[in-house]
């Protein structure tokens, strides 16, 4: 008797938990647990929505963000987009009702997922300042915009319209939200500005204008006119789906047979595969899905794990792509000139728990980036920058697991966050991002995801590593180049003057010092064209004849400008020159021009050589096997490397020469013995 009444009391209480209480209790997981964070989260939720709808409507986003200070801890937030707008009837529901949204049940890559975000921001504003949020939205071809002042009925989880009206708005279409909320405005790593900067990097198709509380206006200009490809909705992929989900789906399906159920409700299952699965799992093909037993479902999952099923379709994913990652990074680095952009890596899509996902990594290195600090990690999930909980994130964990020392960064013990002048950008795209919490700040450490991120990091890291090796080799060669070009002729001049004989021919000496073929590239931007000159210095003792290959943007290449005429140009930009024999100590050249690109869009050609021993070439890599060269490569003439004699460098014996070498101590000993 007593126990029943307690249960009843509890039940009554449970019903009474209102939405506002739910919010209050879960502030931290929703991202409103501090005044600073509440500001960022509110901006973020509105931005996510704006970017999502623009992409859906195939509009290049133009987003305006403004924060105005009302009092010490009260701010007015305005976010306005040029999206398609929202029909009047839906406005209150989208902004004034938790867990209401179009995307909650779909499987594809979007920023928002649960329909919790923007209404949570509206509720936060209302709870902290008591003020309604003002939403204005206009749909294309309507004469006026709908404007509503909105509050939340926190008991019933329903929107409460305070006032609404139609107003004139010169915008073609778009949505604007104004919220007044308690918050704190800060600068630094976790700030609104940083968030917007991060957003601009991975959304190079968006133009973002931001006015901060001090009236400073920031413009993140669009770096690309191309919208990311529209993502498609997909059905779940069978690999990795959970038992409960499978059973639930079997109960809910309209299919009458297991074969039809598998084909209809999952992606990548043909009738052949469905039959294979069911046969191997020993489940009758004709079985009604509603009668699928627990054991049968388990067996199906076992089989699914073992057999080969095509990876899920990836048109539901929207990777940023190598080109735009580079562009975005360039855009945001602003004046800072790095030394090297690692070609970004976009991995093939993979699957976790039936959800396709894809990992991208980009690394910027060196130049003016800070030297002795831990590297900066820019984390993104579905194009949203993640600012908080770096330590809890699978991306951070993956960075920490990679041994970066091999790729030329400092890292104590070969794990942990490396040090050095580098920024690593990681983008995780998925139809469902497994966040550690609703506030969407960290990707859960799911082994399959972590491994995939690690792989992407390694691939990109290797490119960094080979850049470093090339750099060292180039620096050494450049030094030798200085010797033979500048110093040696001077030594010859001077010594011949002293001994009063004619200046000796230096060619043999030069080839002995260098003994390489050196390829030097010069890119000049002139009259909207990139003029590229490849100079091939033959510093070997013999004449050299070989092929030079490069990868150039085919659509920008002026075919007529190529000199000499390439032997082969493919549509993917693979270009091959058959160079004329270059006599010893002479220079060969190849030039071409590119048009239709911005100055900073082209700075270096990927160069390869064939028909020559690649170890004696500086400035180009050996031709990869998959180049698919149609012509017969010339035979390689060996370059005889002279065995370096073991010798002691007189100028590198570092021992104290001076018996008096120590700090002057006032006893007069600083007087040099040289006297």
């Amino acid at each position: 008797m007593a126990s029943t009444s307690i249960a009843q009391k509890l039940a009554k209480k449970q019903k009474e938990i209102s939405v506002s209480e739910f919010f209050e209790r879960n502030k931290h997981i929703l991202g409103f647990d501090s005044l600073t964070r509440a500001m960022i989260t509110s901006v973020k939720e509105a931005m996510d929505n704006s970017l999502d709808v623009c992409e859906e409507a195939e509009i290049l986003p133009e987003i305006f963000v403004q924060i105005k200070k009302i009092s010490t801890d009260e701010f007015r937030l305005t976010i306005e987009d040029n999206g398609p707008g929202i029909v009047k009837k839906q406005v209150p529901h989208i902004f004034g009702r938790l867990l209401y949204g179009s995307r909650f049940h779909s499987l594809r890559q979007t920023r928002g997922q649960q329909g919790l975000g923007i209404s949570a921001a509206v509720m936060y504003a209302q709870l902290t300042t008591g003020r309604p949020s003002i939403i204005r939205s206009k749909v294309k071809n309507k004469d006026v915009a709908y404007q509503v002042e909105l509050m939340l009925d926190t008991k019933r989880n329903r929107p409460k319209v305070v006032r609404d009206d139609f107003v004139v708005w010169e915008k073609e279409s778009g949505t604007r939200i104004e919220m007044q909320l308690r918050g704190r405005y800060v600068m630094g790593k976790q700030s609104v500005l940083e968030y917007l900067k991060g957003t601009a990097i991975v959304n190079p198709h968006a133009r973002i204008v931001y006015k901060d509380p001090f009236g400073t206006q920031y413009l993140f200009e669009r770096a690309s006119e191309i919208l990311p490809p529209k993502t498609e909705e997909i059905k779940p992929h069978p690999q990795g789906i959970e038992l409960g989900t499978l059973l639930k789906m079997a109960k809910a399906t309209g299919s009458y047979k297991m074969t039809a159920f598998l084909q209809k409700e999952f992606s990548r299952i043909s009738s052949r595969v469905a039959i294979e699965i069911l046969t191997k799992a020993d489940v009758p093909l004709e079985r009604h899905p509603k009668r699928l037993t627990l054991d049968e479902a388990k067996r199906i999952l076992e089989v699914v794990k073992k057999i080969k099923i095509m990876a899920p379709p990836t048109d539901c994913l929207s990777p940023i792509g190598e080109r735009l990652i580079k562009k975005g990074l360039k855009n945001v680095l602003g004046g800072l000139k790095p030394e090297f952009y690692c070609p970004p890596v976009t991995r093939e899509p993979n699957v976790y728990t039936g959800n396709p996902f894809q990992v991208e990594v980009g690394i910027v290195y060196g130049g003016q980036l800070p030297q002795d600090k831990p590297i900066e990690i820019l984390r993104y999930a579905n194009r949203i920058p993640l600012l908080y909980q770096q330590g809890a994130c699978a991306m951070t964990a993956a960075v920490e697991k990679v041994d970066w020392r091999r790729y030329g960064l400092e890292q104590r013990g070969g794990h942990g966050i490396p040090f050095g002048p580098a920024i690593i950008l990681i983008h995780f795209a998925s139809s469902k991002v497994p966040y550690t919490s609703e506030s969407k700040e960290a990707v859960a450490k799911i082994p399959k995801i972590e491994i995939e991120i690690e792989k992407a990091l390694r691939v990109c890291g290797r490119k960094l590593g080979s850049h470093m090796k090339r750099k060292v080799k180039k620096a050494k060669t450049r030094e030798k180049f200085d010797i033979v070009q500048k110093i040696l002729p001077e030594i010859a001049q001077k010594s011949s003057k002293i001994v009063d004989r004619k200046v000796p021919d230096l060619r043999k000496t030069i080839t002995k010092i260098m003994n390489v073929v050196w390829i030097d590239e010069e890119v000049v931007f002139e009259k909207r064209r990139h003029k590229v000159t490849l100079k091939v210095y033959n510093y070997t003792p013999k004449g050299q004849k070989f092929n030079l290959h490069g990868i150039v943007p085919y659509e920008n290449l002026d075919l007529d400008s190529c000199d000499p005429k390439p032997k082969e140009i493919k549509e993917d930009g693979k270009i091959t020159w058959e160079l004329k024999r270059i006599p010893t100590t002479e220079i060969g050249t190849a030039t071409f021009e590119l048009f239709g690109m911005d100055e900073d869009e082209y700075d270096e050609t990927e160069l390869y050589v064939s028909g020559i021993n690649p170890t004696s070439v500086v400035g180009a890599e050996p031709l990869p096997g998959d180049w698919d060269l149609k012509m017969r490569p010339p035979t390689i003439e060996e370059i005889i490397e002279e065995e370096p004699e073991e010798e002691l460098d007189y100028d590198e014996v570092e021992e104290e020469l001076d018996d008096e070498s120590h700090e002057a101590d006032g006893t007069g000993r600083e007087a040099s013995e040289a006297g």
């Binding site: 030094e479 030798k480 200085d482 010797i483 500048k486 110093i487 040696l488 001077e490 030594i491 010859a492 001077k494 010594s495 011949s496 003057k497 002293i498 001994v499 004989r501 000796p504 021919d505 230096l506 060619r507 043999k508 000496t509 002995k512 010092i513 010798e647 002691l648 460098d649 007189y650 100028d651 590198e652 014996v653 021992e655 104290e656 020469l657 001076d658 018996d659 008096e660 120590h662 700090e663 006893t667 007069g668 000993r669 600083e670 007087a671 040099s672 013995e673 040289a674 006297g675």
Partner: protein, 373 residues
């Protein structure tokens, strides 16, 4: 028309360096002409490459040579600088000019990319040339700055001044309280040592102690010659002492601070400095004796001390592997100092009063080595 020229003495003196310099340039030229990578081989100037030459009683460079090659950037620059310096020295000899080492360094301002990056670099190259040409720095028309080391004591010498006049000077009676200043050139053409009644020479590290002994009249009381080393002694100071020892038969005793650097001062006087090991036989006095301050003095006389700092300790450790310090005496001195971790200045003797050094310490120490006053 052919007329055999009789070389004057001066021309003879110039002829050898000019020939040697020419040979050096020719070597580089020939290497280039043969298509080789130009290089020079020079004895390694480090403590690992000094050997005791019994016949001369001093330490000189051993057989290990390093190579300076145009294969490396630094080597190439040094070879180019060598050519410039050669040329410059030849010009000086031709026009009978000379320059200080510092002027030499500034001259290189006009050498474009062959310009020296520091004076140490140019000083070291000058020494390299000495070694390669087997000529003394003076023959190469390079001279140091005046360094002002001083002498006080009853020695009479004759110095030829810049006007060519020879002047007789007694280093006690003809000079002020600061003593006779040692010029940079102390060779016979400049200075003749005439006579002395002194019994020995005390070489003193610091100016303060030199002045103390002068003020206390120690040169007269003990009938000795005081030489101020001014820290690590200059070549001319060492050469001057060597001549006092050889020509006037004066024993040399060295009175310095009790620290690792003073040990090295002594080594350069008695054994030959690493930096100038190619001319040790001109500069070093193998019979010189170390008077103090020793490590045991620090304990026996209970002197005020300073703690050894890290560079002192490194210096001592380095001395343990220095072949010049291989004997029992030095091993004990160095190890004791490392053990007590303390050093003392010679002026710390003032703890017992201003006269203590002349009345007690020096007489005691001198009698230990058989010199009684």
């Amino acid at each position: 028309m052919t007329k055999v020229m009789k070389l004057t003495e001066l021309e003879e003196r110039h002829q050898r360096p000019v020939e040697k310099l020419h040979e050096l340039a020719e070597e580089i030229y020939d290497q280039l002409d043969k298509g080789q990578i130009p290089n020079m081989k020079i004895p390694i100037r480090a403590k690992s490459n000094i050997r005791f030459v019994a016949s001369k009683g001093v330490w000189k460079y051993g057989a290990t040579k390093g190579i300076r090659s145009a294969k490396k950037l630094r080597g190439a620059y040094m070879l180019l600088r060598t050519m410039y310096m050669l040329d410059f020295i030849r010009e000086m000899i031709k026009s009978d000019k000379s320059s200080t080492l510092r002027e030499m360094y500034y001259i290189s301002e006009g050498w474009d990319m062959a310009k020296f990056s520091s004076q140490d670099e140019s000083n070291n190259l000058a020494e390299d040339l000495e070694i390669l040409t087997e000529c003394m720095r003076e023959d190469l028309k390079l001279r140091p700055e005046e360094d002002g080391a001083r002498v006080m004591g009853n020695v009479t010498l004759r110095e030829r001044n810049r006007k060519g006049q020879k002047k007789k000077i007694n280093c006690r009676d003809d000079v002020g309280d600061s003593g006779y200043g040692i010029p940079y050139n102390v060779e016979e053409d400049k200075i003749e040592l005439l006579s002395t009644d002194a019994k020995f020479v005390i070489a003193i590290e610091t100016g303060g102690m030199f002045d103390r002994l002068v003020e206390n009249g120690f040169d007269e009381d003990a009938n000795c010659v005081l030489v101020h080393l001014k820290g690590q002694p200059a070549r001319s100071t060492r050469r001057f002492m060597k001549r006092l020892n050889k020509e006037l038969n004066l024993p040399i005793v060295v009175f310095v601070d009790g620290d690792p650097w003073s040990f090295r001062i002594f080594a350069s006087i008695a054994y030959g400095a690493i930096k100038t090991a190619h001319i040790s036989e001109y500069l070093a006095t193998p019979t010189a004796q170390y008077l103090g301050i020793t490590s045991s003095d620090i304990l026996n006389y209970d002197l005020p001390t300073d703690k050894l700092n890290s560079s002192d300790i490194r210096a001592l450790e380095s001395e343990l592997t220095d072949p010049r310090f291989k004997d029992r005496f030095w091993k004990d001195e160095i190890e004791t100092m490392l053990k007590i971790k303390k050093k003392a200045e010679q002026q710390a003797l003032a703890k017992y009063g201003l006269d203590y050094v002349t009345d007690t310490y020096l007489p005691e120490k001198l009698s230990e080595i058989g010199i009684n006053i």
